[in-house]
């Protein structure tokens, strides 16, 4: 062998020396080129060789490769491949990946080489190409069958995929559709076309269909599956329950969109044993080798597109989660202890276990945990533990779980629960007893009550109660009575002597300590003097307090009934130590609005004695019943309300503390003296009276208004509120006739008295009054100025001497407003017609020329002549008018104008256009306008110089002397006028300017 090596080396050296000497390029052509493909028809595999010399020389060589498609050998790829040849690895291989499925068309390969070795620097001369080596495509087959490729290819999402469709010999490709959509085709050869789909998206599990339509209604289809490489498994964890198999689990990530053979696969590889195991998607079971504790796993997730790995190294003894304990059994059961047994169905003898026992007291759910450490046992061996401190005759629920003690990993699942009941013992506590003593004649009936022991106290199931009683001073004569367990009281009869009573409870094991009560010697009327006191509720109970009792008191007892109104009142009691004097009595049976009665007893050596009686409510409520009210004794100003039948006893839901009386005035606001005024929710304002004493059940409401409708409501008041306000009771106060009569009679009497006083005063001052109101008028007949006899006797003297003639002139004037105005302005009369067609007639004495008219008469529609009605009787002069309106005497209408003064203004003159008694020369002056109503003696001589300016109508009497006014009538005047006028009308108006009867004449209305 060594000889051969030496020869080769020598040969090589010779060759090299020759080549270097000759400088000829060294060519090492590729030999024996072979081409094949992979099963998926995606790769071209090339294999070739070179001469042995090249291998022996370990030349570095460069190969150039060309790949062509179709039978026409269109070169589609060319590349170089460099390789250092090796003696030990002969043969050259190379592959090429084709995007187009190799079946789609023929693929040919050729290769050439060059020595690229530094030992031969002048080389780099390519050898000749090898001949083409061809893999025939299906388009070159002489077949009628069409094809489509690739088939069932799995690609990564986002890839570009090329499909080809090969038509049969006499066919043509019409279309290629991807996902139902046609794609543009490009021809590879005459029978083969391709489409390229870019960026493919995830497909459904059944893949995406690609269908090639061919002539002759032929189709070929394939399916493309698009997915993603698998996700890396996370949270890989292994544990064992039985120390035989490791269960490894992990989170596999999102489920692949593909399924079946294309879905992601998982396998577990153990490096020490170099074993691999197929797994499900999220767990794997690996058998544990007894001789090995350490395991190094690699979990691989893989699919057609790639793989991801996760590793875990573990010691199986640190990953033990024991199996669920089974077959629980309780043994050696006593009243307070039990031994609990269980098994584990695996061999844990190599471990030490920690087991936890859960003890649940079923009645109240109290949970106690006990931990024990035990050596692991063979499969199905019995583990046990003692559970102490249990209560007698109590139901418990037990269960167990275990874990590895040295290297805690996880607790096992809890076992199923085992229910046990501990054994009984005799009751350790005496009964709580009390009594009720009823006296009848000389005997007494004692009802003994006891409270059943609680389950904690009974220590078992009570079977019966036993009562023993006898006289206190005679212990030999005790009587005995057994009572069923369902009873909580019994009745015995005793005489008036002091007695002692004992009660015990008995269960299967024994009896309770006796409870003793003593009945004092009969004492009559010992409870008569105790008054009942009210106590307050606290909302959830009733506060009771009592005074300490003198003497030696063993304890205090408060007794009551939970249902005081019921026949079975549910008698209750509560005992207190002798230094306790108050408590809040609470009971689930207490109801708001129910009055409870309590008796407080002091227990002494000879028995119990009643100390105090209490009554009260847990919570007072507002009275539910409204007081039934009646209204009595209705008067104009008052009435009485009564509600005598309203109860104030324990039928009420609270202590009645007061009454409110609401008074409402219908359709008005109430305001009574002494009452509060309130506004109710309906907006009405009412009065409220308060009666503080609940036993006063009537009330007199006074200061009411007569003949008024009132509504009343009486409500009872407790600390819980007041009963409902109800104004259904209404009453009307009566009519107050006395007040009415008094209101009328009193002013009448006062008026009468005033009149009487006035009359008396007038009578007393009658003279003065007469002088003031009715001064004496001189009688002209009695005047000696004019003597008719002288006229008659001496006719020559019929003409009145002007110096002695005193005239009295009366002019009755009724003029229209216009005339009056004109008169006022000009002192001249006016003629005209005015209003309603009434003619104005001016009685004008022609003798007076243009003197004013003084009397106007109006003709009404009937042609009657009447004095001008009021509307036409107007006076411009206010002074004059005021005189009229003031109701002055008719004399006031007679203007007596002082015209003797030359400087008298015209308006002043015009104020009195109707009647002037003027004497221009007269020195007699009228006092003023205000006194114009006063009488002026006709004896006064007017101013003669003015006399001509004064209208005088009664000139017939001029200078004839004074005529009695009572006789001076208009008739006369009329006649005088008619004598001068053609009018024959006669106006019968009486005129008496100086008479009280002449008002009508002076001021015609």
């Amino acid at each position: 062998m060594d000889l051969i090596m030496i020869l080769q080396t020598v040969l090589l050296l010779v060759l090299e020396s020759r080549m270097s000497q000759s400088q000829e390029p060294v060519v090492v052509p590729p030999l024996d080129l072979k081409v094949s493909n992979d099963s998926f028809q995606e790769y071209l595999f090339l294999e070739w060789n070179v001469s042995d010399w090249a291998y022996e020389s370990e030349l570095k060589m460069l190969f150039q490769i060309q790949v062509s498609q179709t039978e026409k050998r269109n070169i589609i790829w060319m590349g170089n491949y460099s390789r250092m040849l090796s003696k030990s690895d002969k043969g050259l291989r190379w592959n090429w990946h084709s995007h187009l499925p190799l079946q789609c068309t023929s693929h040919s390969v050729r290769i050439r080489s060059a020595v690229d070795d530094p030992r031969f620097p002048t080389n780099e001369v390519w050898s000749d190409w090898t001949s083409w080596k061809t893999l025939l495509g299906l388009d070159s087959l002489d077949s009628e069958e069409p094809f489509i490729f690739p088939k069932d290819k799995i690609v990564k999402a986002g890839s570009n995929v090329t499909f080809c469709c090969i038509a049969g010999k006499s066919q043509s490709v019409l279309s290629v559709e991807y996902k139902g959509s046609p794609y543009p085709v490009s021809y590879i050869s005459s029978r083969s076309v391709k489409i390229t789909v870019s960026d493919v998206s995830l497909s459904r599990a059944s893949g995406t269909n690609v269908v090639c339509g061919l002539s002759g209604r032929k189709h070929r289809g394939t399916v493309l599956f698009v997915s993603q490489p698998p996700e890396k498994p996370t949270n890989v964890s292994c544990e064992t329950q039985d120390l035989k198999n490791l269960i490894c689990s992990w989170f596999p990530g999102e489920t692949s969109n593909l399924s079946g053979i294309r879905s992601t696969n998982y396998s577990l590889y153990e490096w020490f044993s170099q074993q691999r195991m197929a797994c499900s998607r999220n767990m794997c079971s690996w058998p544990i080798d007894k001789n090995r504790q350490i395991y190094n796993f690699t979990l691989t997730a893989w699919n057609a597109l790639g793989e991801r790995n996760a590793t875990i190294v573990l010691d199986v003894t640190h990953r033990v989660c024991p199996r669920t304990p089974t077959d629980l059994l309780a043994n050696h059961l006593s009243a307070t202890n039990v031994i609990l047994y269980w098994t584990l169905r695996s061999d844990y003898s190599v471990l030490r276990l920690c087991c936890q026992t859960e003890v649940i007291k079923v009645k109240n759910g109290n949970v106690t945990l006990h931990n024990i450490s035990v050596k692991g046992l063979l499969s199905m061996s019995h583990y046990n533990t003692i559970i102490n401190q249990l209560q007698p005759y109590t139901i418990y629920s037990l269960r167990v779980r275990c874990s590895a003690s040295d290297h805690f990993w996880k607790w096992s699942n809890w076992s199923e629960k085992l229910s046990i009941r501990t054994r009984e013992v005799a009751p350790t506590l005496g009964l709580d007893i009390w009594r009720e003593v009823r006296q009848n004649a000389e005997n007494r009936t004692v009802i003994i009550y006891w409270k059943p022991l609680s389950e904690n106290e009974t220590k078992g199931e009570v079977l019966s109660y036993h009562i023993t009683w006898g006289k206190l001073d005679d212990s030999n004569m005790y009587q005995h009575l057994a009572v069923s367990v369902s009873m909580n009281n019994t009745e015995i009869s005793i005489d008036g002597q002091p007695y002692i009573i004992r009660v015990t409870a008995r269960n299967m094991v024994g009896t309770s300590p006796p409870s003793e009560i003593r009945i004092a010697k009969l004492q009559e009327n010992d409870i008569e003097d105790i008054n009942e006191e009210r106590v307050n509720g606290t909302g959830d109970g009733i506060h009771i307090s009592w005074k300490p009792e003198m003497g030696e008191v063993s304890d205090y007892i408060v007794q009551w009934c939970n249902f005081p109104k019921s026949e079975n009142c549910d008698f209750q009691w509560k005992k207190y130590h002798n230094n306790t004097f108050s408590d809040v009595i609470k009971s689930a049976a207490f109801q708001p609005g129910v009055r409870y009665n309590f008796q407080v007893y002091a227990s002494k050596a000879d028995g119990a004695h009643l100390l105090e009686k209490k009554t009260g409510y847990m919570k007072e409520l507002a009275p539910a019943i409204k007081p039934a009210m009646k209204v009595v004794r209705i008067k104009p100003n008052s009435l009485v309300l009564t509600w005598n039948n309203y109860p104030t006893d324990d039928s009420q839901p609270g202590f009645i503390s007061a009454y409110y009386i609401y008074v409402k005035v219908l359709q008005d606001a109430c305001s009574l003296k002494g009452a509060e005024t309130l506004e109710l929710s309906d907006g009405s304002v009412v009065c409220r009276f308060t009666i503080g004493n609940p036993e006063v059940k009537s009330y007199a409401v006074d200061q009411l208004k007569p003949n008024t409708k009132y509504a009343f409501s009486v409500v009872a008041l407790t600390t819980g509120g007041e009963s409902a306000i109800d104004f259904s009771t209404k009453a009307d106060t009566s009519y107050d006739w006395q007040a009415v009569i008094l209101a009328i009679v009193t002013p009448v009497i006062i008026c009468l008295l005033l009149l009487l006083i006035l009359f008396l005063a007038c009578y007393w001052k009658r003279m003065w009054l007469k002088d003031t109101c009715f001064p004496e008028i001189p009688d002209p007949n009695k005047s000696n100025i004019l003597t008719l006899n002288e006229l008659k006797i001496n006719s020559e003297q019929t003409i009145l001497n002007i110096g002695n003639c005193i005239t009295s002139t009366v002019e009755v004037v009724n003029i229209s407003k216009e005339n009056k105005l004109q008169l006022c302005k000009q002192g001249m009369p006016a003629f005209g017609r005015e209003g309603n067609g009434h003619a104005i007639y001016n009685l004008e004495d022609q003798k007076f020329g243009n003197q004013p008219t003084w009397i106007n008469f109006f003709e009404n529609e009937k042609g009657m002549v009447s004095p001008n009605p009021n509307p036409f009787t107007t006076f411009e002069n206010l002074t004059y008018c005021s005189q009229l309106e003031s109701g002055s005497s008719s004399l006031l209408g007679l203007g007596i104008i002082k015209t003797n003064q030359q400087n008298q203004s015209k308006p002043q003159y015009q104020q009195y256009p109707y009647l002037d008694l003027l004497n221009k020369d007269s020195s007699t002056t009228l006092p003023n306008e205000g006194t114009s109503s006063a009488y002026r003696s006709q004896m006064a001589v007017p101013n003669a110089s003015k006399l001509n300016d004064v209208p005088i109508s009664a000139c017939t009497v001029e200078c004839l002397g004074y005529k009695a006014q009572t006789n001076f009538s208009l008739g006369l005047l009329s006649r005088v006028i008619s004598e001068d006028n053609t009018s024959t009308e006669e106006v019968n108006i009486s005129v008496s300017p100086r008479s009280t009867n002449s008002t009508t004449f002076l001021l015609p209305d």
């Binding site: 088939k151 069932d152 139902g180 459904r204 599990a205 059944s206 079946g260």
Partner: protein
């Protein structure tokens, strides 16, 4: 006068012709069974229509779009339900029932095979998978009823060879084959309906 074709004659020779001596009880029982099959077939035709629609729905485009993809070829592995009118009319009762029996034997297996393919392609299409399973059971039930009629009529039970494997190497072929199976299951039900109508006339209640 019954005219028999050569095939009918051979069939009668092979499986025996209509039993000439049937008791009235047998006739009545056969009639009852035939009527029961008639009702059963009616129900299965409805189910097969639903199966076909649901199957196409899950295969993706262009399945279910008749313009894009023509109906698949008939299964060569299954006796064809389509016969010429003359041939079909000339079938003896025995041969008629035998063909039904063979067809539903194969269809039971084919429907199960299609279900296994769809479990791979459409694992989440639980309704389709349930319907395929149900149809396979119904086909088996129908075959059983046909067999019971044949027994009542004393026709010999045919020896049915194992069902041929369905040739479907690729996913697309499986989809197409499945379609064919569903389609031909429906075609066979219609054929059975016609066959049962003939038998009901021959064996009236």
């Amino acid at each position: 006068m019954e005219v028999l074709t050569g095939k009918e004659r051979r069939s009668r020779q092979e499986f025996g012709s209509r039993p000439t001596r049937l008791s009235s009880a047998q006739s009545k029982e056969a009639a009852k069974k035939i009527e029961q099959i008639s009702k059963q077939v009616l129900m299965l035709i409805n189910n097969s229509q639903e199966l076909l629609q649901k199957y196409l729905k899950y295969q993706g485009s262009p399945f279910g779009q008749p313009d894009l993809l023509p109906e698949p070829k008939k299964l060569t592995e299954l006796p064809s339900p389509d016969l010429s009118k003359d041939v079909w009319l000339s079938l003896s009762d025995s041969e008629r029932l035998r063909q039904n029996y063979v067809a539903y034997t194969f269809l039971t297996d084919f429907l199960s095979e299609v279900k296994s393919w769809q479990e791979d392609l459409n694992p989440n299409a639980s309704d389709l998978l349930e319907l395929l399973e149900k149809s396979a059971k119904q086909a088996l039930g129908l075959r059983s009823n046909v067999a019971s009629v044949m027994k009542i009529l004393s026709f010999p039970m045919p020896l049915v060879p194992p069902s041929p494997a369905l040739d479907a190497s690729t996913a697309f072929r499986k989809k197409l084959k499945g379609w064919s199976v569903c389609q031909q299951y429906q075609d066979w039900l219609h054929r059975t309906q016609r066959d049962i109508t003939v038998l009901m006339q021959r064996y009236p209640l």
